[in-house]
């Protein structure tokens, strides 16, 4: 934990232990790569993902650096998730304008489908044949990441916050702005969907 920092006794008379620049830097080093990956799974574009992480770090430094170090992980996750959500919103607005225009120039094969439908794995996938142990680790990872990207946004968000960021249900619910029950449901569905996808790919964890 980056909150080890300075002991309270060495601080001046003010009681609230604020994050020093060093503590903030250590915190970023610890979380930035996971944050990048989270953003990448959500937006599927590495440039956009890097921009999102940079935005989140800037916001944390500018507005919330006065928080005690122990609060930083939660605040950062909230900022990160909000930044990702803002990206979705911008994309939605853009799609609102571009979809009617593009539909004028030919049939759009994709359409607006139920996100769960994207979980289907094609039977002619090149990974369908066992055994999975022949796959390199990196290939397994690539498949897991791809499966994560295919999850509906809320499920992915809940799953990553709970299990990767190791937040408790209450904290995840606060960040996601939903009830604790919803977080549990999203997590359970995400795990089930991931298991199904990976099983279809012939991957044994």
């Amino acid at each position: 934990m980056p909150c080890g920092g300075q002991p309270a006794a060495t601080r001046t008379k003010k009681a609230s232990p604020l994050a020093t620049q060093k503590e903030l830097s250590d915190f970023f080093i610890e979380v930035e790569r996971r944050a990048y990956k989270q953003a990448l799974y959500a937006v599927r574009d590495d440039h956009q993902a890097l921009d999102i992480v940079q935005d989140a770090m800037l916001k944390l430094t500018e507005k919330y650096a006065s928080r005690p170090p122990a609060e930083l992980p939660l605040v950062f996750q909230r900022i990160l998730q909000n930044t990702i959500r803002d990206f979705y919103r911008r994309q939605k607005v853009r799609a609102l304008w571009t979809t009617p225009i593009s539909s004028l120039f030919g049939p759009d094969a994709e359409g607006d489908s139920d996100p769960l439908e994207t979980l289907e794995v094609q039977d002619d996938s090149k990974f369908s044949e066992p055994p999975a142990e022949q796959l390199e680790r990196s290939q397994v990872l690539a498949l897991i990441e791809k499966a994560l990207q295919q999850l509906p946004a809320r499920q992915r968000q809940a799953f990553l916050l709970r299990y990767w960021e190791e937040l408790d249900v209450a904290a995840a619910a606060k960040i996601m702005g939903c009830s604790e029950g919803s977080v549990k449901t999203h997590c359970s569905r995400a795990a089930h969907a991931l298991a199904t996808i990976l099983e279809k790919q012939g991957i044994k964890l």
Partner: protein, 129 residues
């Protein structure tokens, strides 16, 4: 695959952690740049609301022990005297003439409209005689 949710999650997260450790140098470099850009905005204490900052400083100054030395006391006494002087001068200064004239005009038995009457003007000129 019928792993319990937590067990499955734990295994997946292990793979994800490995993926994080194998990020490409380009991405790592961009992250370092982003981190440095963010840290360059770091300030020891974010600027609080101006009024409160001022009030806090003033309070701190008054309560600090060196505040009540001779120079400060003389300065404060001079300031208080000056304020009293200004107040006294305001009260006792020769009243505003224009205001007095207005008051007299309005409280007089003679209606104000009389002054607009040309006949009244000429009567005034004649009356001393």
């Amino acid at each position: 695959m019928n792993l319990p949710e937590h067990e499955l999650a734990r295994k997946l997260v292990q793979h994800l952690d490995q993926g994080v450790d194998r990020l490409g140098p380009g991405v790592r470099e961009r992250l370092v740049t982003a981190r440095n850009a963010a840290l360059s905005k770091y300030r020891e204490q974010p600027a609080p609301v101006l009024g409160l900052a001022w009030a806090g400083q003033a309070a701190a100054r008054i309560t600090e022990p060196g505040f009540y030395d001779a120079r400060n006391l003389i300065a404060v006494a001079a300031l208080v005297l000056a304020l009293v002087g200004v107040g006294y001068w305001q009260i006792s200064a020769p009243g505003n003439d224009v205001a007095d004239i207005d008051t007299n005009l309005l409280t007089d038995e003679l209606p104000v409209s009389a002054y607009l009457d040309k006949g009244f003007d000429s009567w005034l000129k004649r009356s001393p005689r």
